[in-house]
Subunit: 280 residues, 2 copies
Amino acid sequence: MNPTPDTDTPDAAAPARGKRPKQGEPVIDRALSLLAVFSDRRRALTLSELARHADMPAPTALRLISRLVAWGALERLDDGRYVVGVRLWEVASLSPRGHGVREIALPYLEDLFEVTRHHVLLAVRDNEQAVLIERLSSKDATEVAYRVGGRAPLRSTAVGLVLLAGADQQFQETIMAKPPEKEPGVAEMPEGQLRRTLSDVRRTGIAMIRRSHPSMTVSVASPVFDAQGSVVAALSIVVPDGSTPPNVLAPAVRAAARAVSRNLGHQATVSADVRTHSRG
Amino acid sequence: MNPTPDTDTPDAAAPARGKRPKQGEPVIDRALSLLAVFSDRRRALTLSELARHADMPAPTALRLISRLVAWGALERLDDGRYVVGVRLWEVASLSPRGHGVREIALPYLEDLFEVTRHHVLLAVRDNEQAVLIERLSSKDATEVAYRVGGRAPLRSTAVGLVLLAGADQQFQETIMAKPPEKEPGVAEMPEGQLRRTLSDVRRTGIAMIRRSHPSMTVSVASPVFDAQGSVVAALSIVVPDGSTPPNVLAPAVRAAARAVSRNLGHQATVSADVRTHSRG
DNA sequence: AGGCGGCTTTCAATGGTTGGAATAGTATTG
DNA sequence: CAATACTATTCCAACCATTGAAAGCCGCCT
């Protein structure tokens, strides 16, 4: 029912035909932005949802998605919605900092978990946050804040503090220059105290955080080193506040972290003089 | 090199300039084929290696890779090589059939593992193979054939048989029409026996495979169902041949698989076919 | 019985993409 | 130390994959 179906002459000033408002973004970026739409809360999405969130026309989204589905990066459910596919998961499992450390650490995490029956976590740093690589939990454990694959702030979690303490100086300054992420149930640390804490973490190999939010818990974390002596991950245990005293947990966590480090090729050199002088 | 270096006028018959040998492949496919180059054996690759294996010119590969790195799908190591990135792993962790079932199944896998101290596996089907989603192993367990993220044949592994038995009829016929994948250390099954085996698996909820290759082991697997009653995964245990009798393991594996199924929303209806469960 | 929303196909215009060539950097060899 | 070989990176003109409005479908709600 077009009100003016007659005149097929758009006349002058009507280049409405070939219009391409905002071409210019590389195809890959668009495809990746489609993947980025998926989140903890959005695990199954329709075409239009994907198109909307990735900010592109439906036909374009469909074409890209079809390719992703053909390859296996996405899968289509019976109801027409799309989910992240096993093929992508498969490739991602080759990520050294993802499944790589996980695979090596898992047996030790299991031992720790079996002995304590509390949450055991493994996390790595990605940019300005910690990413949870693994979490072992019994069915009846306390409520926990983070899920595997999720992100946590550096300044207000035990694993975060460990990873931050192990990062290079410049990065630490960058982080401290920024306002801290608000984290519910965790006391915010003034900069001075944070610096002292980080220094302590480096010295003792232990970070500790008490939080009250999802539930009253204490987290104890310890760094995992690679062969070059860099902190590549943080191992932690989360227990209900008041159950096992933290100072009892610390040695177990440290021991587990050291075991993992050793398996990563870290030479647990005795204290000092670990300076390598190579490349500027 | 050029026999006529003088005249800078290419003159006629010099179409060497604009040559387009084999353009025509969508950009995404190329990017994905770069990701596909990574494998268990190739976890860190140089630009030229990637370009070679993905069969594309280095500049093209570089451009695509740069985008992938910018997004976090790949990461660049200090030595210039590329590895799969944490960001990709993060998105992949949203895969329902990957980390999804894993997350739900993990506590039960842990229980089973803790009691038996043998390998516990979780696998899903992707196309014509099983993909290993999770594997719990103690540090001192027997040698094992597959790694998490790896693939296994459907016809010659316990999890494979379970997944095959749970697939739709048409798919099963497709598989059986093809020559079986050669698998070292596993006796090949003639079609008739395979059909009988699959039928047994459906009836009893248990598949069993004895293999001699990496070491002498027996695998016992059982299906995991979703709310619709489809087989979405297979749970299995792998023990050294001659240790625990398989008929002792079967109930434990079945129970664990059922527990996972229930958590996935499966209503364990009492099937008419299963009137006597203890096969006598 | 019509409107609405989402999904899919079509197609001409075009700009992102391409890859040879050249340059720069780096490791290996004589 | 030069020669060699390889890899990584930049450049750019030709061009084809990509684009998105438009229109056709389909199912659903009213």
